[in-house]
């Protein structure tokens, strides 16, 4: 019996997937969480073998949540679901300790197989990502965003300019621009448009 927690901010999705998985003979959804923080709370009282983690959640995003969970519960497997086929995330997630990464456009059979595979300790990448070239990378590199970085990326994603952001949160526009540059470097993105896209992936739009 594989005990599963589903973490996703889309209630309909949770209810649907729960219904599907509970009808599998060897799987049981033991808890749900609507965001990363709630997931950490839930895990204090519930043992799970596999976390089905949406990357796209408010408050604590899937990447940061995965990193925290693997630190506190190293035996628990994290299978990440995303809408997007994006190479930045597969790398970031592998570094964070996820066991697998699957697109939401896959079907139930693949999902069930994926859960079983990561439960057995296998690493799993969605087939559609299998041709991604692994970037040469310094192991100390991190993808987790600081609080300020998260705040800045959110405000940029709202369409505010650096001067507007500086005025809003009472810092110099130079500082905002420095944060933006740091974000672009850290995440290996080439401009603000890619940064907004990344924010979309992290579920930071409309916050």
């Amino acid at each position: 019996m594989i005990n599963i927690i589903i973490a996703d901010d889309h209630r309909i999705f949770i209810d649907g997937v729960k219904s599907l998985l509970d009808s599998q003979p060897d799987m049981k959804v033991v808890a749900i969480a609507l965001n990363g923080n709630e997931l950490l709370q839930v895990m204090k009282g519930t043992k799970a073998d596999v976390i089905l983690m949406d990357i796209n959640m408010p408050e604590l995003n899937g990447i940061n949540a995965t990193a925290l969970i693997k630190k506190q519960y190293p035996e628990t497997k994290v299978l990440v679901l995303s809408m997007y086929k994006t190479k930045e995330f597969s790398t970031a997630l592998l570094h964070a300790g996820a066991s697998g990464y699957l697109l939401k456009n896959t079907g139930l059979n693949e999902l069930v197989n994926a859960i079983k595979m990561v439960h057995e300790g296998k690493k799993l990448l969605d087939d559609q990502l299998s041709t991604i070239k692994e970037k040469p990378r310094d192991e100390s590199e991190k993808y987790t965003l600081s609080k300020r970085e998260t705040e800045i990326i959110k405000l940029l994603a709202q369409g505010l300019t650096a001067p507007e952001i500086g005025e809003k949160i009472f810092i110099s526009h130079y500082t905002v621009e420095t944060h933006r540059k740091n974000l672009l470097n850290k995440l290996q993105l080439k401009n603000t448009a890619e940064l907004i896209k990344y924010a979309a992936h992290l579920g930071l739009l409309d916050e």
Copy 2:
């Protein structure tokens, strides 16, 4: 008995929601479609009372698809689902003829109620959008994007600059900038960041 078609590019979502709705005594999912074009094909052979439409689909997005469906099947009700709480969309969707707009973070009971309400002919807005001020608007205004506009927005969303896009599709960078300005005006957005966000909502990222 309410006959329903689900249109969404996320197979897991479809399977899950289908499972949930098929267990309702007065509802039946009679078909599914993974994108707007497939939906139009499916509807040629299948009668449905309510379309459950994800706004976020490749090829033919939810707004354009809704407009086409209401023209060809005026009796069919369209209930749109989106991840995002965005005022641009509620307005665009009402103009396109949708009967309702619901966030994916609502639960099953709300979804079931919403389907029943739109089936009865009611207009439905998600509670969370109820405070949106209706913009004074010329009725002739349109939110549907031309092919070129869609192409430009996709390329911008990939992080390409206007000069890069011009070089890529063999037009002047001036033309690209004009398209961008036209898009911003048409969609009443204030800058490229908001345009990328809009592209995210339309599912145009990573295409």
